[in-house]
Amino acid sequence: MARYGMALDYKNCINCKACEVACKEENGVLLGADKHRIWVGANAPSGEWPHLDIVSSTFMPSQCQHCEDAPCEEVCPTHATYYDENHVVRVNSDKCILCSYCMNACPYDARYVDDRTVTVDKCTFCSDTRLARGETTTACQNTCPTKVRTFGDLDDPESEISILLKTRDHFSLKSHLGTHPKLYYLT
């Protein structure tokens, strides 16, 4: 049993989209499906030349935040959304009735309708693919050339992610909502 989370050293991101490609390949996300399981936001530099704010020009990789108190899990009428043994928020497509309440309730717009199963889907930290095969990395982390992503067990004090979170400043998205995301942005 683990409590998986991910740290994102987002300032290292070069927007190569290798993570999106690897995710699609690994998890069978349909080709052409834009910003489905994971995505990278690109912010243009603010200000006017020559006074451009270079720092504002960032890439922000994001995905399901795997909240500790996930609104999507609370609102699901059939328990199709559930926490697995590793505290990963998962969707059982056999139980999903496509009421779309979770899509409305997720503060991070992390859910979408999967045209393969006609149910709601999202990032699963590769739980049903790589982790199920005994691997310890997600596809997006494994392929990232600039090591933006660090995936691991938050309950293991010796894990790389635990050490990173102890030694680097970080923030979470919309933390004021009390959802306790397990995606951490390193600053």
């Binding site: 936001g41 243009a44 009421c99 779309s100 309440y101 409305n104 006609v118």
Partner: protein
């Protein structure tokens, strides 16, 4: 023999299909039939289109997953709860001095019809309705407002049917008991529907106690609008004195409720705008500038309110027309509720360089969504019409028949 036994248990009129077409061929009747048939055809076409192409024929998106069909479902179930509340004035609370019992049976039948129409519409919005019926039972999500709403509405429908049967059999004491239980369950279901929106912490514009309480108030308002419409058609706007007395009473209640609703809506907007909370204030300002918001206020509150005020609650014929207008306003009320909740884009990090992120989520219902929604109205009309032929929905006597 069996039919006779059944008709002894449940007093129904022995009618044939042919009798359904035996009606006065007046212009209004023919128009009503034409509209109903067109709506039913729309329903068939809309459902056919949905069955062929799935959710892709709806204009719902990832950013705006709930569309017109959800609004129409809410419209119907609010109508049902409203009719249940108005019906219970007579047969549960026994306000007989104002003749409210004259409308009870018709109201309870109307509440059954409208909720069935609502279920028919939502069945095509829910992606897997059969799976829903199975997993709602075997894997209930007790923290989900949708689960409670759906389950309680199922129970509510059951109690309404039982109450209606007792009303038909003139077993008023039993009808009162089941009417009271049905009302309590209906109010619980309906406020749970409000909480479906009120629990969303991702949507500050909807989050909070407003919707669960406002739903009950607006249900009552909707019920009275429909009472005027039903009685208007029943008596062809030539109301007998006992019905006039009842309608005056209902109009007075309506005046009070509309005033209360104006307070609700006014203070909701004012606290939203001047509260200054990000994600709520900006959305409220945006809503304030939308024509659908003003359609709701003018059609559902101001016009009927003025008719009641100026006519001192006694201009029954005008109130009939004002109620028709009011129901259009109520529709906008439901549409606004659903659409406004989803106006604000949630995840601004899906940005693309040198392109401004969308400030508001846009939504326009698709043709299929409109077809199915109007079709739901057609279903309600036809079920109600058959009911008027099959059952004696008029109530004239107040004395209780002996218990069988």
């Amino acid at each position: 023999m069996e039919t006779k036994k059944f008709m002894g248990f449940l007093p129904v009129n022995a009618i044939s299909i042919k009798d359904l077409f035996a009606f006065e061929k007046s212009f209004v009747n023919l128009l009503a039939i034409a509209v109903t048939v067109v709506f039913l055809v729309m329903f068939v076409v809309g459902v056919g289109n949905y069955l062929l192409h799935g959710h892709h024929v709806f204009n719902v998106t990832r950013e705006h997953p709930w569309g017109l069909l959800i609004a129409t479902y809410v419209f119907f179930v609010v109508s049902s709860t409203g009719l249940c509340i108005v019906g219970s004035l007579g047969d549960v609370f026994k306000f007989e001095a104002l003749n409210y019992q004259l409308f009870s049976k018709r109201a309870i039948f109307g509440s059954i019809v409208t909720i069935l129409a609502g279920f028919a519409v939502i069945a095509f919005e829910i992606g897997h309705p059969v799976r829903m019926m199975i997993y709602n039972v075997v894997s209930p999500g007790l923290t989900s407002a949708i689960w409670w709403m759906g389950t309680l509405y199922g129970l509510y429908l059951t109690f309404m049917i039982i109450e209606f049967i007792f009303l038909l059999r003139h077993e008023m004491r039993r009808a009162q008991v089941f009417g009271f239980i049905g009302l309590a369950v209906g109010l619980a279901a309906h406020s749970n529907l409000g909480s479906v929106f009120g629990f969303l912490n991702a949507r500050p514009i909807s989050n909070g106690v407003y919707y669960p309480t406002y739903f009950i108030l607006t249900a009552f308002i909707t019920g009275i609008f429909i009472a005027f419409i039903m009685m208007g058609f029943r008596y062809k706007l030539d109301f007998p004195p006992e019905i006039k007395k009842m309608l005056t009473g209902l109009a007075k209640i309506q005046g009070f409720l509309l005033g209360a609703f104006l307070f609700f809506a006014g203070w909701k907007m004012l606290t939203d705008v001047y509260g200054g909370m990000p994600g709520r204030a900006d959305v409220a300002v945006h809503i304030f500038h939308s024509w659908t918001f003003w359609a709701e206020i003018v059609l559902a509150i101001l016009i009927p309110g003025l008719v009641i005020l100026l006519g001192q609650a006694k201009s029954h014929v005008l109130m009939f027309y004002a109620s028709l207008i009011g129901m259009v306003g109520v529709f906008f009320m439901r549409y606004n509720l659903v659409h406004d909740t989803q106006l604000k884009p949630l995840q601004m990090m899906k940005t693309t360089r040198y392109q401004l992120p969308p400030q508001w989520v846009e939504y326009v219902p698709s043709t299929t969504e409109i077809l199915i929604s109007l079709g739901g109205l057609g279903l309600a009309f036809v079920m109600y019409y058959i009911g008027t032929r099959l059952f004696d929905l008029d109530e004239s006597v107040t004395e209780e028949a002996p218990e069988r």
